[in-house]
């Protein structure tokens, strides 16, 4: 994979104005109401976390657009795809509604339209259509304080590293740089991530977990098939030998009289 796009979110800069939320809803034509959680019509949400007595931190939630996404490996029809540009896109016309992507997502992001009669999956795709045209994601463009910025993933990682080194207030970790093999959305924080509701996810990319099992298919087919074929050959040979020697096959195998095939 070549250079990919990413979003860097600096929690120390976020003022909780929710302009990102509003811009996201507007660009998708969703109703402005929100219950403070991700939903089929709220693809990004700003959560407020109380730190100590009077301090708050605002944390945006959105699809992490993983580098090696569990959802895309899970989707049996390939409706979810990691694009070359970076965003993980969803092609609703392929989806059969199995919801394995929702089971598989380590960040529990995808939302299902449970109330609809022809439901599809909803999640952020970092405004793939806009980014493909060279525009920024709507949420980033709307951010008045540049708490969210977008750009090339490698450059944003360098920028994040620079900020951590320049200011000792930051936690010495870029959330998303290594989680589940790396994501396209990064977070910087001055408060330990676990206190802000960030999930402790496996370090390795999730698809490896199933790739090993799928890799066993040829072995099962060859060894299992060979073994069964060999055993059948022995069974059959015993019957033929018994027949040639003029012994009743029923005596050899203990078969009882049966009208079955």
């Amino acid at each position: 994979m070549g250079r990919t796009k990413a979003i860097l979110i600096d929690i120390t800069k976020c003022i909780g104005c929710k302009s990102c939320e509003a811009a996201c809803k507007q660009i998708h034509g969703f109703p402005p109401e929100s219950n403070g959680e991700l939903s089929p019509t709220t693809l990004t949400v700003v959560e407020q976390h109380a730190i100590g007595q009077s301090e708050d931190r605002f944390v945006r939630r959105l699809c992490m657009n993983c580098q090696d996404p569990a959802c895309a490996s899970a989707c049996l029809v390939g409706a979810l795809k990691k694009t070359d540009l970076g965003p993980v896109t969803y092609e609703a016309s392929k989806c059969i509604g199995c919801r394995y992507c929702i089971v598989a997502c380590p960040f529990s992001v995808p939302r299902y339209e449970w109330s609809k009669l022809a439901p599809t999956v909803k999640k952020c795709d970092m405004c793939y259509a806009r980014q493909a045209k060279g525009q920024q994601p709507a949420c980033v463009e709307a951010c008045p304080v540049q708490a969210s910025i977008s750009g090339w993933r490698d450059e944003l990682l360098e920028e994040a590293q620079r900020r951590i080194l320049a200011d000792s207030k930051y936690v010495k970790h870029i959330y998303g740089s290594e989680e589940v093999g790396g994501t396209s959305v990064f977070f910087l924080s001055d408060v330990p991530f676990e206190k802000l509701g960030f999930k402790l996810v496996p370090a390795q990319a999730m698809p490896i977990l199933t790739a090993n099992a799928l890799g066993d298919i040829p072995t099962v087919v060859l060894v299992g098939g060979g073994l069964l074929a060999g055993l059948y050959w022995i069974t059959n040979r015993r019957k033929l030998v018994a027949q040639a020697e003029g012994v009743d096959i029923a005596q050899v195998t203990g078969e009882k009289e049966s009208h079955h095939v």
């Binding site: 049996l76 509604g97 299902y112 299992g224 055993l231 069974t235 195998t253 049966s258 095939v261």
Partner: protein, 389 residues
Amino acid sequence: MSKLHLPKITFWQTVVAIIFMAGAYAAFSRFALGFQQSTHLTDAQPWGLWVGLGTLCGVGLSAGGFAIAAAVYLLGFERYRQVVRAAVLLSFLGYLSVIVGMMYELGLPWRIWHPIVMWNRHSVLFEVSWCVMLYTSVLAFEFSPSLIEKIPLPRLRKLYLRLHHHLLIALVLVGAILSSLHQSFLGGLYLLAKGKLDPLWYSSYLPTLFYLSAVPAGLAATLMAVFLCNRSLKTRVDPAILSEMSQIIAPLLYLYALLRFTDIVTHGVAGYLFQWREETLLFWVEIGLFVIAPVALLSRARVRNSPQALYGTCSMVVMGFMANRLNVSITAFQTTSGVYYVPKWTEFALSLATVTAAAVAFHYAVRYLDILPRTVPEPTWTANDPATA
């Protein structure tokens, strides 16, 4: 004065009618009102009873067909030839019920054919869907002579049965491999749920564990079905065969328990085995029903030689197996998801109606086709025997 002869309505016919009516309403609410009205599914619990019971238990309990077909046709266990048709029929109906279940489980069921043309070979579910499609076709073929031999066209019958005879061995072999693959890959689905699934159930050996539990559970389900046919449908399967089958089930359960506990210890989560938590309790219920009680019971000759006791023991195996699949698919997610999912009654109704339809189909197939050896002349359409309802 002539007496009017109406068919007697039996207890079981009433039960079946009620189940089908409830199922019909549930189907209406699923398709006319949607998931939100017909289920308690949420984004935190996107797979519920229809996957846990319908798909995981449905496929798992249908493992008897491939196991017995392979034993008889490939390994030469001629003794089991008496029950091979019943085992294949049970599996075939089991898989059909899974496919019917998919029609209401999937959000967009009219696209169920998509995996045939839209491929993602990195997806475990893709492999499962192909295996289930192919294996259901194999089962239909394995079962077909039971129907074809009833066709009153001798030449067609002969032609078909000859073709069947030539292909059978190869297809039984293919069926055994397809079954081994998707039985284990159903467990493989949950490999991606690392960090979400409770440590007592998450394991990198989930595929192997699913496979090793499906075979004894499928055999137990077959044994139960044969027992019921002997009791109520006047078939005549040698009870000694049921006893022999049970002697295969016990070592398979041992093997499963050995891997399960070795795995728990080597994953370093043995501490969870003795904590006071709901999950741990459910774990021991599952292991008690699936392994401990059946293994203890099957070690006694008195149990093995009594068809009733065997039936009871096998029903424990089946219940323990179902507990395992429901734990993996539902309860093992509860701590991390923070959502306590209890299926809505319509979910139960639709699952129950699907299983009942399969059971009714099995009943009539055994009555009117040559599925199992018989003692009495075939019943006629006007037969009115309460025991066969």
